[in-house]
Amino acid sequence: MARLTAGVATSHVPAVGRAIDTGQTQNDYWKPMFDGFDFSKKWEESEKPDVVFLVYNDHATAFSLDFIPTFAIGVAEDYAVADEGFGPRPVPPVEGHADLAWHIAGSVIQQDFDLTVVNKMDLDHGLTVPLSLMFGQPERWPCKVIPFAVNVVQYPVPSGRRCYNLGKAIRKAIDSFDQDLNVQIWGTGGMSHQLQGPRAGLINQPWDQAFLNDIGDNVDRLVGIPPEEYIREAGSEGIELVMWLIMRGALDDQVTEVHRHYHVPASNTAIGHIILKNGK
């Protein structure tokens, strides 16, 4: 049977992708941020996941305003890297896991979450930057990926509680897949940032730290945070943190924190990163 072994959360800033792609990760500005991922890359080398279920949001790349799926699961065999306006990132294409993806789509829809099923979508920095942070710059990504896109652009966006419960449904689906696979779930985005308007540049370190403190053992508090609190306290784009709750919902109630990293700033954003393993 497939085994969900760990959850990873990380921010997914475009400028981080650019720093990697242009070889600037060791300069004064970026080094402290990237140092926090050295452990994570080594950890992934020993964990060797077969599949990453990667929760991210599309930033007006694959989805325009023509149609806006709240939750979309990629079921393709492979995916191209998107051109977001300055050419695609020079990273390998992403291989999907169509069998597991279709199985999860079927199971989760039958558990009353209405997913949009997607056969073709180009993947933007929301998905590729976390892959680079966790796997470095390989010729080929070391595992298959199931992209799972959450709408956090057009309001209303899904609540933290719905995301958390969706995570639980995804877990049930993974547990009932009859191939022996090591599966990780990643939640990406955040932490505090605001990219727009006169309040741009907002960063709330105490609020972020409290979120990191509670995601392991006190997630009930986080699940109840309403969208307006994310906007007010963590900036308009801080709402991306609801995607971390999908990751957390899929893990056991009891988890062990393996690694944590927090750094300000990466361009406009507070970088947060945590690795949780199932069980105490």
Binding site: A60, G85, Q154, G197, R199
Partner: protein, 133 residues
Amino acid sequence: MTKSRPYDDVPGTTVFDERMSRKGYHLNQFCMSLMKPENRDRFKSDNRGYLDDWKMTEDQKQAVIDRDYNRMLSLGGNIYFLAKIFSCDGLSFQYAASTMTGVSEDEYLKMMLAGGRSPDGNRYKHEWDKSNG
């Protein structure tokens, strides 16, 4: 239909709900078109001519030509869509954010290096009204 929302009292922030999205549909879809290199080239060589192919208001077109991002936000633009415009200009999110806050990119960078804009005094519109009056 236009009843107030719990986030309406956050200062300096435009939440992209249906009130904004309905205004900005054509503006945002124009932005999406800039993801194709051939469209970027056409737009770069003639902003006005390219914009005239879109069902946008004159205000929206002028705001794009002026690269006035706050104005575009107020006319229904969403920041992730507007990002296609400054990417096409070869400019970063950090640069765009600085123009929206009315400071130089250098000053903005310094603020971020010092830990970013504090939430204190920036949570409610009335806090901004007080400091301006």
